[in-house]
Symmetry: D2
């Protein structure tokens, strides 16, 4: 159930609605939109009678929600969410460009990449410190040491840092350094981890699982919003299909669908999505044309020597080239990108 | 085996190579590129010894081909193929815009749509006369009557006509009217039909089957080229995945992959690809940004009343709007679109 | 719409119903069950009013059918269909065992295999004469020569012959020799071919397309029944999934689902389904346990030298072993298998 | 690298090999087979030179392992693993029958179900206390209370208890009650949880993720074995495909494949696999015929009122019927099932 308040509802009107919800034993979630407030009810096992609310002062309408998610839906908040990341915005007119190595390997690799991507117009630095890997024998990241290097790179460059939290145990350490906490595709339905980041107020980037439907992605986001953290950014990174040529099948259809169903920003990760460096630029441009709010791209100064995902990482010069083309496509769809530093 | 001729090889050099291939009991296919000629050998059951050709006059190199296709591959022809369609080109710098109704229903519907799409910049009119349908009880097209209407619309508007051939029996009638013969997704591995269009010299648009790999699509194209018809245009129209929200999953990853593997032009069909009208524009723009050579879009003057595929058809005004945005994105990736007629 | 007749309806009652359907411009299909007759109406574009029939003499009920298929559904015919194949039955208590080489290669290979499989208890000989192949350069069967050998093997062994018709052109030649005409997976939605076999009265084995849903398979069968050929046998032969280890994913879930939805017999093809000889026996036994009406298995006297599908073919001795285990599992689910010839 | 010891190698021989591995800075895993011991080396970043070991006393061969897993592979242990569960065995000649409700709801429901399944021949009781659910608003289990009821049911019936651990936090509580700790499909790549159960010595049932390849399942099992817990049981429970009729597609092809690749036991869960109660029996019998080591089946005294998964749960009487048929099929493939208690 969503209680849509009128445009001129007062704080008192809103509070009375929330009190009534609490009195019924349910949970009230206040969702602040541009022109009005909505209050979502969760925690009810059965349908709530709309008449309990529709006659209250300041209430425009009490809307039963038949979709399995509420807080992430457009019904709860018609306008796009813009997520503030320590002064930078994800979901606004300017595209969020996130770039950096798959894994943080050492200071030289990290800072060289950070400076290159910053100069080309990125405002966010990605880099894995804790790396979930399919094989127990594969490189699993340099962990705490990687976090320390990310913190240093942030101080030095001013870039905001995105890095993955792989479990509840290491989440506090990650949350201390990260400006945006990434939840990886394999953890999209690790509900304990979703609840833990839901209890924080830091922005969270939630990646779609390789075989998750769009609805399941939205339901996992709902886990985070339901705990009070509204700062969620979705990320399409490729799904598993029968096609063997590409590592995954980047599903750009998800962009217009998510834009229709949800107010949350959506980022495209073409590096994992297609999984071959010479397809990354085409898919990045396509993602922007499809309406994505930004890109997450793997860049490595020396892909052949990368400890992970070298085959899909761009060299610095190719990333710069790509950014110039991103600017042109962004303009064609009325979006902007931060300027290049000559 | 591919015999790559030198840039200054003479007609006689080429003929001697072809004669030798014939003498060995194999088939020679001459592939004329911008700067040189290649001769492909097919029909050999076992490997051909390169030494048989490499010392011949005018031969630069005899290259064994390990890929399961030859004539469609970049190795056989490094530069992009531009397919001439009765004066219009598919695969050149100008994007090919193909639009029209899913099915030809009657003269008023067809001509109204044809004029609208022409004014907006389309140069090709699509419209199904013979419609393969999953159910034997569904509308199967108005058949010969539809062909007659397409011929009339072509005469009246000057648009080139693309329509589907659904079997060998009705192919001659279709081929008489169509400027481009469409082979539908369900027929992508109807090898008898592929061989029949391979024996013609008319351009053929081959749609990817809903669960065909990119390699299988290329192999089906190879069936056509191997019979001597080099005028093949590929079409990505969505694959079948686990995602239920969209009708299909338009696989734009196929665009950069096909551009890498093959010289054939590739068109994107966002209407079938995503299968919902309010996602068509996003996917059309994404297709262009990804590097496609054109678009095939379903337009209907009155989608609610369409006899097939109404839910994914654009109204004329939305198509015009889309074309303006296509022009902007095309410019951003150095492509052009025919001008709008005011 | 299905018109269910009462158990004591007379020929005249049935004829009056059929005449009324014809008078309305629709097509009547009489479906003879064990205890009563049903008459299905097809050809109607809009709903038929049940009152037109429900008051007629001998009519028990006029049932609107909301499923997209009618004649293949359990509603049309509650009891299992038993297909007579020149004296042998498919769909009865005795399992139909179909075995033989993927392709007919020569007389020695064919007759050696035929005799081995007959001795082990098979009553049907499979063998491809016309072979649809993904590559135009792959072995496409020995065609008419293969048909001639199949005819000879049939005369010599008494086995019934199953072989594939790959197009409308070669169907007459195939239909002359085959006791059961196979429609391959790639042709499951070749509707012209379905209509052509629908016009015959010979049994047809329709293989599920590699990415066809169960409903689509039933709709394709409906094409055949709607033309009057009720002798259709379905075949599950593996679907395309993300799993790379097996050639396909044999979908045994389809067996109980099809048994619930349709009265048609269903055969399992574990050879194509799993695509590796050392998995064929496990999947064959599993298919019988799941309720399939028979098996189609590739057997080759010398799999390493087979011109197609050697990797999934069983040697004669392994086939004999398998048949002994099939007998044991069949008994456990109240089915029988023809006896072994010592 | 695997060091295969000779049949008559002494404890000293084995210890010397393990000491040398430790001296190189790697980890030695002793794998005790029926007739000889193998020692696997993990923790090496680069290839280990076989010559370092092949000349040592008691070493038969030093085998480089190219597969991405080692300890779970047949190369490491040719004979089947039999997992001891507090006196019962999983992986032996007798099939392991696991049955019970999807979720533990209350004492009456649990004990009624437990007694019914025990009488029918089950030796293991399943029941979820902590339930990971796609929606944050769905029933998530009765948690600690459920564990307490499971403990009581175990004392009362003597059945061994299998229940799911959904995160590292609640693992200790689950491990105290469970005889087998279940890792659910969504957590198959929750590597922190895998490592945590790898540090225990209790049997673990690892369910295949809905889009996990067989190799990925084996790699996840390798995480557990690599920490020293060899007591792993795999479980096939259905994969995600394009087919909409069934909830999942139970992939029985995985049974012969896993039996070929690994020595670990494999259980089939037809309830989740096909997701409709009237298909469960067919798939259960098929699983046994395919070679599975047991079944996990949802049984509920009143499926319509179940708090989760009612649509796929069997009533007690249908479960009893199924067990009788399981006994017959088991006998046909040389397996046994515990007797029914009249």
């Amino acid at each position: 159930m969503l209680i849509l308040m009128t445009g001129d509802a007062t704080r008192e009107d809103i509070q009375r609605v929330k009190d009534k919800i609490a009195a019924l034993g349910f949970i009230a979630h206040e969702i602040v939109g541009a022109s009005r407030v909505a209050v979502a009810i969760t925690g009810n096992k059965t349908k709530v009678n709309p008449d309990l609310f529709s006659m209250m002062h300041g209430v425009e309408e009490a809307v039963p929600v038949t979709k399995p998610y509420k807080l992430v839906g457009r019904a709860a908040k018609p306008e796009n969410s813009e997520i503030d990341v320590d002064g930078e915005t994800i979901g606004g007119q300017e595209l969020a460009i996130i770039a950096g190595p798959c894994s943080v390997e050492n200071w030289d690799q990290l800072i060289a990449t950070a400076e290159v991507v910053k100069d080309a117009g990125a405002r966010f630095l990605r880099g894995g410190a804790f790396k979930p890997r399919t094989s127990p024998y594969a490189f699993q990241g340099i962990k705490e040491e990687g976090l320390a290097l990310l913190r240093e790179a942030k101080l030095k460059t001013g870039l905001k840092v995105i890095t993955e939290a792989k479990d509840v145990e290491t989440l506090p350490a990650v949350a201390e350094v990260a400006d945006v906490i990434q939840i990886g595709a394999r953890n999209m339905q690790n509900f304990s981890l979703l609840e833990a980041v839901g209890d924080l107020r830091k922005p969270v980037m939630l990646k779609r699982g390789i075989s998750a439907t769009i609805e399941e992605l939205l339901m996992s986001a709902e886990y985070i919003l339901a705990r009070g953290n509204m700062n969620v950014i979705l990320c399409e990174r490729g799904i598993r299909t029968f096609e063997p040529y590409t590592r995954n099948t980047l599903d750009l259809n998800a962009i217009p669908v998510i834009k229709k169903l949800s107010h949350l920003p959506i980022i495209v990760d073409p590096s994992h999505g297609i999984g071959m460096w010479d397809g990354v630029s085409a898919m990045a441009l396509a993602g922007i044309a499809a309406g994505a709010d930004g890109l997450m791209i793997e860049v490595h100064p020396n892909p052949e020597a990368a400890l992970s995902d070298g085959a899909q990482s761009l060299r610095p010069d190719r990333f710069r080239e790509l950014m110039q083309r991103v600017r042109a496509v962004a303009a064609a769809v009325d979006r902007t990108v931060a300027v290049e530093i000559a």
